[in-house]
């Protein structure tokens, strides 16, 4: 396969970036998207050029670091997967592929396709935890949890914090991420104790770092690689009102 890549190149956080065009020949449909970028970088290094900087770690779809905006979609055009799981068989021979970093004020570009997602860490450290002393694992049946609640809490907890929701939202809103992190505790008895403080602190931090607000367009849910549901946002809103 032959592809034309249009990749955002930006030397550092303060530099003015621009799109560079790269022709890729002999791209195998069996390749992963990141492997294709690895192949491009190998070539660039051999040509004594600066390789394209992009985040990646586990390449198993669980770390959430490989976020990049591909042809109008966070993590590419295939639903419910991360960029590292994106295969080149989903692209056509001769296609032009636009690759951009996440765009949001709280996610400034560090270099090329890498953005600083510390804003998510700040929200998480504001209240996304349960204050208990660690020790040996408690008896699982000491506190009974309905199966439906634990399932829902788990479905929220699988958010990998990749930022695709922010990238997809026209308002650069982080409400899907924040609501998932609030929901995973709100649904469980252990999380209820600090529920009010948690939602207040996390929402306050979310606003403070400069994310937009939710317009209920559903773009975040449609593009989330872990299919986190919009119902989390409604739950976060309820939790917030209850915290008054």
């Amino acid at each position: 396969m032959k592809l034309t890549l249009k990749i955002w190149r930006q030397r550092n956080a303060n530099a003015k970036g621009n799109f560079e065009t790269y022709q890729m020949d002999n791209v195998s449909p069996e390749m992963a998207f990141l492997e294709m970028l690895d192949a491009l970088n190998k070539r660039l290094v051999e040509e004594d050029k600066d390789p394209v900087a992009f985040d990646h770690d586990c390449r198993e779809g669980i770390c959430g670091s490989c976020g990049m905006y591909i042809n109008g979609h966070p993590h590419g055009p295939v639903p419910a997967i991360t960029t590292c799981h994106l295969s080149m068989r989903f692209f056509k021979d001769g296609e032009t592929v636009w690759i951009e970093p996440w765009r949001a004020k709280p996610f400034p570009v560090i270099k090329d396709l890498i953005v600083d997602r510390t804003a998510f860490d700040k929200i998480q450290t504001a209240g996304g935890f349960v204050s208990v002393n660690t020790g040996s694992a408690p008896e699982a049946n000491n506190i009974l949890v309905p199966k439906s609640h634990s399932d829902e809490a788990f479905n929220s907890a699988i958010c990998i914090g990749c930022g695709a929701c922010v990238a997809a939202c026209k308002n650069a809103s982080a409400m899907l991420f924040v609501s998932a992190k609030i929901s995973q505790f709100a649904l469980l008895p252990q999380g209820r104790i600090e529920a009010k403080e948690r939602v207040r602190a996390m929402v306050e931090k979310m606003d403070e770092v400069g994310f937009g607000s939710c317009s209920n367009t559903g773009a975040c849910e449609a593009e989330c690689p872990k299919q986190i549901k919009l119902t989390n946002i409604a739950r976060m809103n309820r939790e917030f009102y209850k915290a008054f």
Partner: protein, 214 residues
């Protein structure tokens, strides 16, 4: 406490409540407007007089104006904040599968607001005595306006866009208030569609009837 009151969610909560309140007023206005179809001006003028003078309605009017003001001001404020949250956009656009109407709320809202200002100049400001006109004969004011083709074009376009605005606004308000339910949310969305078609269609029917068939 002040941080909670001025949080983005709180602003959206107030905006949603104001919006839902405005939704209750539209059917009332539509029912009164249907009296314009009668050849006798008296029922419409009586209804308009009642709306202008009855004390309970006067209280309702104050709340209504406050709701419009809050809804518009918070809408503009949140939209500007949202624009600021993404100073650099995407070259490859946004191809996420979303509700079509939800993407243009600020623009459909701005169109409706522009119409509202025009509407106020035609009727409400006369009632308040701010501009000249006969507040006791809004029937003929309305009939005269609907005889102007350009007014009808503007009217129909605005109500078409109002339908778009209402469709997303109706269900979105429930989500913002935290009212999302496995069974009820799909029903709310169906009611929203029904409401968003029925209300503008009713207003458009009156406009077309008075314009082309009277």
């Amino acid at each position: 406490m002040s941080k909670v009151l001025f949080a983005s969610i709180s602003k959206k909560f107030v905006m949603a409540l104001a919006g839902l309140f405005l939704l209750t007023f539209l059917p009332v206005h539509l029912i009164i407007n249907f009296l314009l179809l009668k050849n006798n001006p008296e029922p419409f003028n009586k209804a308009a007089h009642f709306m202008a003078t009855f004390p309970l309605v006067k209280i309702f009017e104050i709340v209504l104006m406050a709701a419009i003001l809050i809804h518009v001001m918070y809408g503009i404020y949140l939209q500007i904040s949202n624009w600021l949250a993404r100073p650099v956009g995407y070259v490859s656009g946004n191809k996420a599968e979303t509700s079509f109407f939800s993407k243009f709320m600020i623009w459909t809202g701005a169109t409706v607001l522009t119409f509202l200002v025009l509407h106020f100049f035609n009727f409400y400001f006369i009632k308040l005595g701010l501009i000249e006109g006969d507040p006791e004969n809004f029937y003929s004011v309305a009939h005269n306006l609907f005889k102007i083709p350009a007014y009808n074009y503007i009217y129909l376009v605005c109500f078409f866009l109002l339908g778009f605005h209402l469709y997303h606004a109706f269900s979105s308000a429930f989500q913002t208030l935290g009212l999302n339910h496995r069974i009820w949310t799909p029903i709310v969305k169906k009611v929203a569609l029904f409401y968003a078609i029925l209300i503008p269609a009713g207003f458009a029917f009156i406009s077309i009837t008075l314009w082309l068939f009277r």
